[in-house]
Symmetry: C2
DNA sequence: CCGCGATATTTCAAGCTCAAACCTTTTTGG
DNA sequence: CCAAAAAGGTTTGAGCTTGAAATATCGCGG
């Protein structure tokens, strides 16, 4: 009896798709490997961001989003882009603002909303971090040739698109 | 000028490997897609675990590890298997123990260590959750045929092995 | 111009996460 | 035998994360 993964074989009621256990297990195994890979890479990135820049992944993600949208982003747009809860972003922006890396700018016509923008200091700091980050990632994924990376990227794009579009 | 991703082009000092920017960017793009995919899947799993079982991913992961090692695991082994900090596991086990899903068993010859084991209730509960979990994952990755899943799994295994081994 | 649903954001409680500090017990080297 | 190092766990402090509730503002229909 092949016992692998989170193996258990209780009588699970089959879903509407009526798929084979082996197919499920093949995909489950893929999932566990993807998880292992991404967690491993994330752990390294988190550690380096911490030790070399005194920062964190969430902070980096936020700054990356703001760098990509130079005109600024509303809090809700930010949480939308990053796909995290809006309550979450509040705290991260609070701390980035304390460090003088971002500012909240009042939106003229709307006293509810505010636009978040990188400060000059924030832009410079992000440029430094992003440069290092790119090299770190490329090193960590060095096993993938650029061609394979591109091919896999396209494949994931297909899959992701199917989710987004429905 | 192709501006994509966390784009910035500050003069980053080239590492010892002296690699091309385009290669870095191709891998960075792959990384962002992997992240997007895994986060998306994780979000769905977390939500279903919460709404359908009143549980969380970390709890599920711990129970899966314990199910795989029926004889029990020491706290340190558990954090080693899950690749999370040992201080982290303490809290999760505390809460699982409160719910009667796991127990801490004293190790005979060593008064420091304790073996964590699923209770009968924990085994049954995990069996239920794992069955659902497997189907959820398979559905979420349904875009990958079993063959492609197997191929990708092998590819990730190679990459992961290279990291573990050195 | 007033109420009321929609929108933008913050606050809150609970849980996860890490690194570092801290006990306790065990093992090891003199 | 005994001090010092190593091993097993917990505690602590700060930050991240979510979902839900609270707050404030906007805009629309009447």
């Amino acid at each position: 009896m092949p016992v692998r993964e989170a193996g258990q074989d209780s009588a699970t009621e089959r879903g509407p798709t009526e798929r084979g256990d082996d197919e499920d297990r093949a995909r489950l195994r893929l999932w566990l490997r993807m998880l292992k890979s991404t967690r491993g890479v994330e752990a390294v990135l988190r550690d380096r961001l911490r030790t070399q820049f005194g920062s964190t992944l969430p902070r980096f993600d936020v700054m990356a989003a703001l760098a990509r949208h130079g005109t600024g982003l509303k809090m809700s747009a930010l949480s939308g882009v990053l796909k995290v809860s809006n309550g979450n972003v509040t705290g991260i922006i609070d701390r980035l603002a304390e460090d003088g890396l971002v500012v909240r700018v009042q939106v003229p016509g709307d006293r509810r909303a505010s636009l978040v923008r990188l400060t000059r200091k924030g832009q410079e700091e992000f440029a430094r971090q992003a440069g290092a980050h790119r090299v770190w990632v490329s090193d960590l994924l060095a096993d993938f040739s650029p061609e394979e990376a591109r091919a896999l990227t396209d494949r994931f794009d297909e899959v992701n698109a199917r989710k987004d579009g429905s």
